[in-house]
């Protein structure tokens, strides 16, 4: 099986995008045209922040798992000669 490393990359990418969204929300906190109350805004920023960190951790774990699987010798015979 292919290692899941590329999958971790995509999840990491989504996590990064969520952080970007949290950032944009933060940047718009003083926007006079917004209908979003500050409370909701903070909740959302925190939510996306936490979720993206969780996703990043998950992605990291999958990446490590993928690396470990790649490290395992592909053929059981491929070991040092006696």
């Amino acid at each position: 099986m292919n290692s899941g490393k590329s999958r971790s990359g995509l999840i990491g990418l989504v996590a990064a995008y969520l952080i970007y969204i949290a950032y944009e929300l933060y940047q718009g906190r003083n926007d006079p045209k917004t209908t979003m109350t500050p409370a909701v805004r903070i909740i959302c920023i925190v939510f996306f922040g936490v979720v993206s960190v969780a996703l990043l951790v998950y992605a990291y774990r999958i990446w490590k798992q993928g690396s470990r699987e790649e490290e395992k010798p592909p053929e059981k015979e491929d070991e040092s000669l006696k």
Partner: protein, 400 residues
Amino acid sequence: MESKSVFAVLKKNVMLIVLVLVFVLFVILTHGGFFSANTFTDLVKNNAYVFILGAGMLMCMLTGGNIDLSCGSTVCMFGALGAFFMSTNKGTLENPINVLNLGVPLSILMMLAIGFAYGSLLGFLIAYVRIPPWIATLTFFLAFRGLGTALLNWANPTDKTLAYLPESFLQTFYKGVLFPTEGFNWPCFVIGLLAAGAVVFLLFFSRKKRMEKGYSVEPMYMTCLKGGLSAAGIILLMTQLAMDKGLPAPLLWVVGIILIYYFITSKTTIGRHFYVVGSNMEAARLSGVNTRRIMFLAYLNMAILSTLATMINMARFQTAMPNAGLNYEMDAIAACVVGGVSASGGAGTIIGMVIGATLIGVINLGMIAVNLDQHFQYIVKGFVLLAAVVFDILSKKRQK
């Protein structure tokens, strides 16, 4: 060729239903305003780039969850180059503009050539030099944005954009309409009816054939549902388009691309190779599949499709701008992910991508139509992506 796990099949059909529901939701929220010619035209013409880039991204992701982060910047860079080639405005004496005014056919040819060269370079770096796709495409993501902007600055120091693209170009890629008429565009409507009929016929005919030969088939109600929804969708779309001006050029391009890639992914040996490489590269290699060539082709293909998307984009805005293509790669990736393309490779269909792209397009347009606060729009976008990722994670867990 679809992955046959129940989850994947479910997922594909679920998305279709979700799409319909979300659409209906917005129609209700806007008291019917959403159900207008404008919406459909917008969905087709302004969302075309998502379908085209999505097709390319699908092929890349199939090979193992690989993506192309550069396609948005490519749209900017190639847009700048294309405008440089074909813009007709040399500016004024005080504010001269550097353009070549080469004429449309030559410009298109040159753009394609450059796209081919870029794709070959990218494919070579990724497949043969073994640079991780991340890094390679990220590099161009940054480089092309900078280069494109620089080119525009140099060509037109005052506006930093390039406009005055030839009308023929604009017509071919955005403004043009097939069989234009005054008033209600009957050709468009008729084509819609024919297309809907063809789709329904094919759905039921292929099911019948499969049953006769003894293959497994989906339950009849599912086929009816799919047939009904597709037919309704097509006729709806074509009617609305007919009320606007007719069959727009981008739709032709998009439908063409979808048909081509549908054929490639489900019926050809090369398509099969893509799926196999993404599922288990080593097993594919030892079965005689040229895995490096497949990776190369994935990125070459992406570059060519990016070129096409660039042309449509240029024709839409009628200008080449430094911020062209911003976020396009995320849109393409999101369309794939939401459309059920597996993040680890080896599974995903073009229809899935189309549904994903359409869903995202509908959500985007819907939010604007209900005048949703821009900040809430961000949140919705975030949730959609989050949901797709969580779905992917859960389905992987189920598989185990």
